[in-house]
Symmetry: C2
């Protein structure tokens, strides 16, 4: 049977057409390539080349063999990759989160539960997180709804397990002189049409906002520090969440107003597939 390298030479010959080029490409001698081609022929047991005394080219068999070998090389590489990925995944817990602000203490609690594993946390939209969870790219996801009851068909237990781990509430953050700044509560619709300043890394919130305030134009800003500067020095209304406010020192001249729409007052659920529950129970305890 051909070695991996010999298969590479063969595939390369199909691509380049001359043994010399292949030898140069791999910085080895031509005789080695000649020998590899001979070995290919004897491995398959059928003629693969049309030869004259000083030229060599693939025949029909050879063209098929080259295609097949190219595929086998690919399959080989992918096979190795799969094993490596499996190993990597076994040493890693991947967490996908819809919450922009890191939920306090969660990562450290997980990392204490699995001291030998690396914790990888990445943000994403709920739909992507759900997909990632079912495709085993995430062991845990944080969703702004209870997936275990959402997908549960009549009485039969859901494929997912979810546990509430915190709340987050979107607020209007208005200049004190804004016409609505002194209200206790507002609906998103009350601000529809007003231009808003938006921190672009706002995740799943933005979809809701666009839907409920279709007439508002939004000024995006994706640099966190600049965003804060803008808030302090402009009179444009903007959004904040209670969680993000907690870590920030107060901004004078702005006041937070509660929004009553239920969609923007979410409970986060730490979610996993039920078949992983046993291994992850320490996280939910």
């Amino acid at each position: 049977m051909l070695t991996y390298e010999e298969m590479q030479y063969f595939a390369a010959f199909a691509q380049y057409g001359t043994l010399t080029e292949v030898a140069e490409k791999y910085t080895i001698s031509q005789p080695t390539i000649t020998r590899a081609m001979k070995k290919a022929e004897e491995t398959f047991g059928v003629p693969l080349f049309n030869r004259t005394r000083n030229s060599i080219a693939l025949n029909d068999n050879g063209r098929l063999a080259a295609e097949e070998i190219r595929l086998l090389l690919k399959q080989t590489d992918e096979m190795v990759d799969r094993v490596r990925s499996y190993d990597r995944a076994s040493r890693t817990i991947s967490i996908g989160t819809a919450a922009v602000i890191e939920l306090p203490g969660l990562i450290s609690r997980i990392s204490r539960a699995f001291p030998q594993k690396a914790i990888v946390s990445e943000p994403g939209l709920p739909a992507d997180l759900e997909r990632g969870l079912t495709e085993d790219r995430y062991q845990l996801v944080i969703l702004p709804y209870d997936l275990s009851s959402k997908k549960g068909k009549k009485g039969q237990t859901s494929e997912f397990y979810a546990k509430a781990i915190g709340e987050e509430h979107l607020l209007f953050y208005l200049p004190v002189h804004h016409r609505l700044a002194r209200r206790k509560k507002l609906k998103l619709a009350d601000m529809n049409g007003e231009n808003m300043l938006l921190f672009s890394d706002i995740g799943f919130w933005s979809e809701i906002v666009h839907r409920k305030m279709p007439d508002s134009r939004v000024l995006m800003q994706n640099e966190r520090y600049t965003f804060r500067e803008l808030i302090e020095n402009s009179v444009l209304p903007c959004f904040v969440t209670d969680l993000s406010l907690k870590g920030m020192k107060d901004i004078t001249g702005r006041t937070a107003v509660q929004i009553t729409d239920p969609e923007v007052n979410v409970t986060y659920y730490l979610t996993c597939r039920r078949n992983m529950l046993y291994q992850l129970q320490a996280v939910f305890a």
Copy 2:
């Protein structure tokens, strides 16, 4: 990368569980197996085994790797087989035929048209032949109908090309004293209910006979010489075809009676896929 042999050793270890057994199975020394396992581990770059000083077993990675390698070995074998088959097919013309009697001169004509190719002819039922033709297991098939017009969708040219190459007619072969022996023509239905002697290797004819003579019982005989003996020494009616009669010397005390049902008076069509027509034109000329 692992060699084919090293992959075999690894797969075998997954099966047998000890290096010693693998070494015995392949009649080589244990150290060779040890080294192959080390090389596997270094190729994948991840731990594959749980080891103590004198025991070794696959871990989770190893079990996956073994499964993957088993698959890759299979893919490798199949790849080589495909190339070999392709070569073999390129040196062979495979003919499938629904005609039980070899059509005179056809094989020799084909073999003269392709002197460098081997001709393989095998009998089959029309449905199998059609499938074999579309799946390239046959380059030519002989069918008792015109496939090119049968499958031709409204105006658009068929995928197949067919040319009539001969006829065959099923006949009743009756003892001269049979009550219907003196008729010029009969229908299958006229004999329905009578027990018939049947040469079992009768191919597609038998389906028609069973359908048109559902009340007849048939006595099968698959030994050609015995069949002839039976005909000569019994008064059971039976079938023959005009083509098969031609090669036989007459049997006294039997007379052939024409059957008028169109289904048992067939024209044979030599059929190929249209994309092969150019290479096969000599056969049809």
